[in-house]
Amino acid sequence: MQKVAEIAQKRAIQLLNQGAVNRVLGWKKGEFPYDETPAVFASADELKDFVYDSFSSPNLSKYLIEESRKEGKVLAFLKPCDTYSFNQLIKEHRVNRENVYIIGIECGGMIDVVTLKNRGAVGLTGADDDGENITAHTLYGDVKVRKEEVLLEKCQACKGKKHVIYDELIIVNPQDEKPRDRFAGVEAIEAMTPQERFDFWRAQLSKCIRCNACRNICPACSCLQCVFDNPKSGVASKASPDTFEEQLYHIIRAFHVAGRCTDCGECSRVCPQDIPLHLLNRKFIKDMSAFYGEYKAGEDSETRPPLVDFSKDDVEPCIISDKGGDR
């Protein structure tokens, strides 16, 4: 990983010096190994703080909505899953492709700091990643864990190591594609009884503090004004004074990104209360593929997403209402 970061940094400086791009979107070193911040670098000097390692989880595609509309070309480093988001944004005409030079960067999976801390790395001050294992340095001694076990949810269910859009690639260590089941979590909930499902979601959603982090980090949430921020909508409540509001916010948000959500997993990563929001989005992804044919948002930048498309022999909604069972 160290090597990838060096190559990326060098290449960024080169492109800046050539004048091919006038700024670079990447990750900036923080106070700890894990608190990297997305940043725009404008010079070789600023790029000294550029980092790329297993804590560079923020998806930079969201920033390109604004960055690509500014003057001049921006160089953006995108991980494989980030390229899906970018493609989807092209499809929705939210980014200006001409203004972005994409370097697809290899990804060996990103680490979830919360899980790492739950595994005993309390007081985390540093971490070494040898690809297989993570050695976390903490105030109270070292903790060694298998990397696979502390990956972010989005990496546990990795969509693949292929970049779907790029101008050039930086891949030093080709990663093996491991078959991963993205929908096991959804299936587990589907297998519950309605009351169990209700109790599960009530317990999870009642943790919500309505900080809107899930919405604001989401590349698919690109509305200039969200309905939940619009005082005229009658639902802009800023907080959830009632359990209904918790349901409303998350149902509408999941529905609004249905067909556009590339499952980049940022919502679950940023949730301060660790609500498994990906389970909401993946339900839509799973259903859409089941009912309307295999579809992966962001895989290309042309095809119509299922919810803005139709076919004359689509299934009728009564297949849900009439499913029978105990309800």
């Binding site: 985390l124 900080c211 980090i217």
Partner: protein
């Protein structure tokens, strides 16, 4: 100084809860937050930081203020203000406890916030020393001693015991009702406790933010900081969510909203965030149209405006929640340091 065996803590909780509502950090659905104690509650005092801070027991995220009801041609108005019942909040860390002072200066100064005041008067705060401070902690930068917390009663874990030291009238009154459970600490106990406290203070010195220095901050140099070029770069990545404000123990901004119930109107207040673009929205629009301005507002308020109105006291207690929870990891420490807030080591 009194003490109780760790294994007897459940009896202590039960004894408190028998008379008053007891709020205590509990693990609910995988996250530790303050919750009302009941039989079988999954109390978690080892997790240092609850996601939501302890302020929510005095200043809940949502609170009904007044309701209106239409009956024929009349509108009836009913205040939702109630006198609070006595309650206890247990396990408050030194930083969160100090945050109550900061909130007091806002809510208890004229005009007094009666909703807050009644809860403050009826709440007894039991603090807990931090045996294992974490990397994101920097309470010491604000003169807070995490080994010797304030509050009505201070509690400390050391060895097999929880030590208990009442500090105020309220604390003494509560202690009286628990006399049968609490033992008197011996000299040996006091030594053990002192050793533990020294341990904590030594750990503090090893913390990454130990060198944090706020001398460049405060009431002075307001315009110079306000006009600084640095805000643009610092706020560049901010996505404008409210995670930092909602986990913050000292953020006190709220919005007042009306909910149309169909048969009347419920007016309530709820936490608001200066990071939101509709914050302090007025008829003419928002006074801070860019995210940079909103970002600057948050930190200027904590580190400049508040101190200039409150004898130099910062409205940050160094709990480090925002350091851990920011989706893109921009936080108050990075801001403090960007303006030269680090001692040369």
């Amino acid at each position: 100084m009194l003490k109780i065996k760790k294994s007897d803590l459940n009896k202590l909780y039960a004894a408190i809860a028998e008379r008053q509502t007891l709020y205590i950090p509990c693990n609910v659905s995988g996250k530790v937050n303050y919750a009302v104690w009941g039989e079988g509650a999954d109390v978690d005092l080892s997790t240092l930081k609850t996601v939501r801070s302890a302020k929510e027991v005095f200043f809940p995220q949502c609170e009904d203020i007044v309701s209106f009801k239409k009956e024929g041609k009349n509108i009836s108005v009913k205040s939702d203000h109630k006198e609070s019942e006595d309650f206890v909040v247990f396990g408050v860390r030194a930083c969160d406890c100090r945050s109550f002072d900061i909130l007091d200066r806002v809510f208890l100064s004229d005009p007094v916030d009666t909703f807050y005041k009644t809860k403050r008067e009826h709440g007894t705060v039991i603090t807990l020393a931090c045996n294992r401070p974490e990397e994101s902690c920097f309470c010491f930068a604000f003169g807070i001693d995490n080994a010797e917390p304030e509050g009505d009663i201070a509690a400390y874990f050391a060895g097999d015991y929880l030590y208990w030291s009442p500090k105020t009238e309220k604390g003494l009154n509560l202690t009286k009702t628990l006399n049968s459970l609490l033992l008197t600490a011996t000299d040996k106990d006091n030594d053990a406790l002192e050793k533990e406290q020294n341990n904590i203070r030594q750990t503090n010195e090893r913390l990454p933010f130990y060198g944090l220095d706020l001398s460049v901050w405060g009431a002075d140099g307001l315009l110079e900081k306000f006009n600084s070029e640095k805000w643009k770069e610092l706020s560049e990545a901010c996505v404008g969510c409210g995670a930092c404000t909602f986990v913050c123990p000292t953020c006190q901004c709220y919005d007042v909203r009306d909910f149309d119930k169909g048969n009347g109107v419920q007016r309530y207040r709820c936490w608001d965030s200066c990071m939101y673009k509709d914050f302090t929205m007025m008829a003419h629009g928002t006074p801070r149209p860019t995210q940079m301005q909103r970002f600057r507002q948050r930190f200027m308020h904590k580190l400049v405006y508040y101190p200039s109105n409150n004898e130099g006291i910062f409205s940050c207690v160094g709990c480090g929640r925002c350091v851990e929870k920011c989706p893109i990891h921009m936080n108050i420490v990075k801001v403090i340091k960007a303006f030269g807030g680090e001692k040369n080591e």
